[in-house]
């Protein structure tokens, strides 16, 4: 931990972060997976777009 923290981080606030962080991390990770999944599914099912600027 950084020794130069000038605000009191609070022992309870530091301890609880480790706990909340793990759950929140799992949530975040699953959310990202779902998002990626949806994006891939969209890409897979959608027609390829014409990205060329020439008409």
């Amino acid at each position: 931990m950084n020794l130069f923290a000038y605000i009191d981080p609070g022992t309870g606030s530091m301890i609880v972060q480790a706990l909340i962080g793990v759950f929140a991390g799992v949530m975040f990770f699953s959310k990202s997976l779902i998002r990626q999944g949806i994006a891939r599914a969209r890409l897979f099912f959608s027609k390829p777009k014409n990205t060329s600027t020439e008409e």
Partner: protein
């Protein structure tokens, strides 16, 4: 040279005034972190995206204040300092989201925010901006977020209270200099918030943990917080704040303009007169006191004149802010202010947060359809109202609303008329003590009179 009295907590540096210009001294102790801010590309990224205030390095031009100086920087000017207890719900919400955006960017560049104070955010060009260049330090893998507690106290707890209990709980920010204590927020929040994963953890569980470990710093074992967990923590704070809502309406002035006393012609005349008065006085900063949703404030701000639109009603200020955001207006700052009890000087030695009058003076004060509320609803004598207005501004556009006007009669209908001097003569006599009347125009098809005055 004068050290800014609000700038003393952080040993990394401090603000000082020299010839009316504000500078920030960066102390030697902060050298490594300051260099990293610039060399990591974080400063460029944040200033390019208008999240952090930009500065110039003036070390060679401006004399430092003390020997432990590493650099002297000159931050971009902030035209008006406002405080979280004066912001509307969405202003506080946007300030919170800005802080989290900054923290996410900092982590990408190997740094982290070492504080997350709402007072480090100011509204510049209509948008929230981090103004403390010294808020960053290098990130060490496994370390928790030092500013987590402060973020919850300054942003999450007040937003949750305003959104889920009552908008007026905002006043808790005024009485608690370091944000709303989490144990207090936990008591006040409704029981159903215990079923919201984010509030259950960041407020209720957090408050219990604080209580459990109070005074037990040595005995507690700190587990490392991985980047994975830290990202999750910040995402959880961000998504819970994004979901928080408060709907303005149903309060005092929400629908004011639907019930005004003006025919459309008189309304046009009033606007035209005010535009003319603004042109005469050429103000750099305007304070519209009792601005409602900012209809008349925009006569100034649309000409790029820095305009602060104060109103007592959080719903009106919220609507004003949403409008300016939708239209990307840059010169307007709406703030919640009860003029009968304006923001006082607060904090250590009364010097950390300035009073409203202390942040003056304005070049032009606009007090439209306000005087009857001060005098009749709040018993402020006319001469004391005049004295205060002379204290906060050089020029004054003021509308006198006499007895016989339906708005005044409405105020008098529920109370005894103890205001024998409340007429045009009494009004002018009181104001002439402090001001010269430059213009006086009667508003068509109403009993109201608009004045332009200059302080003596």
């Amino acid at each position: 040279m004068l050290v800014e009295p609000a700038s003393f907590r952080d040993p990394s540096g401090f603000l000082f005034w020299d010839n009316d210009k504000l500078y920030r001294q960066v102390n030697k102790a902060y050298k490594n972190d300051f260099d990293l801010l610039l060399s990591s590309g974080l400063y460029k990224r944040l200033t390019d995206s208008s999240l952090l205030i930009s500065h110039q390095d003036v070390t060679d031009k401006v004399e430092a204040k003390s020997d432990n100086n590493y650099k002297v920087i000159k931050p971009k000017e902030v035209p008006f300092i406002s405080y979280p207890y004066e912001w509307s719900f969405s202003q506080l919400k946007d300030a919170a989201l800005t802080t989290l955006k900054v923290q996410k960017a900092a982590l990408d560049h190997g740094m982290t925010l070492k504080d997350a104070s709402a007072y480090n955010i100011q509204f510049v060009d209509g948008k929230p901006l981090l103004i403390d260049t010294l808020s960053f330090e290098s990130y060490e893998a496994g370390s928790p977020w030092i500013a987590y507690r402060q973020f919850c106290q300054h942003f999450l707890a007040p937003l949750a209270l305003m959104s889920k209990v009552d908008i007026r709980t905002q006043h808790l920010m005024r009485t608690n200099i370091d944000g709303v204590p989490l144990d207090l927020a936990s008591i006040i929040l409704p029981a159903k918030t215990r079923f919201s994963p984010a509030l259950a953890s960041h407020i209720h569980l957090h408050a219990r943990s604080q209580k459990k470990y109070a005074g037990k710093a040595g005995s507690a074992k700190q587990r490392p917080v991985s980047r994975f967990a830290l990202n999750g923590l910040i995402d959880s704070l961000e998504s819970s704040i994004k979901k928080m809502e408060w709907k303005p309406g149903g309060t005092e002035w929400g629908e004011y303009y639907t019930f005004t006393n003006y025919s459309s012609n008189a309304f046009k005349q009033k606007k035209k007169l005010i535009e003319g008065f603004i042109a005469i006085t050429k103000p750099k900063q305007v304070w519209d006191i009792g601005a409602n949703t900012g209809l008349f404030s925009r006569l100034a701000s649309s000409q790029h004149i820095q305009t602060i639109a104060f109103d007592i009603d959080p719903a009106a200020v919220e609507k004003n802010y949403r409008q300016l955001k939708a239209n990307n207006e840059k010169s307007l700052l709406p703030l919640v202010m009860d003029l009968t009890n304006p923001s006082p000087a607060l904090g250590w030695a009364h010097e950390e947060r300035q009073s409203l009058a202390g942040r003056g003076e304005a070049d032009l004060v606009m007090a439209l359809a306000l005087i009857h509320h001060l005098v009749i609803s709040n018993n402020v004598p006319l001469e004391r109202a005049a004295k205060f207005m002379a204290q906060i501004g050089k020029h004054l556009i003021i509308e006198f609303v006499p007895k016989g006007d339906s708005q005044v009669d409405k105020l008098l209908s529920t109370r005894e008329d103890i205001f024998p001097d409340y007429d045009v003569d009494g009004f002018e006599k009181s104001y002439k003590e402090h001001f010269d009347i430059i213009e006086k125009v009667k508003i068509k098809s109403s009993k109201r009179i608009l004045y332009l005055m200059e302080r003596k």
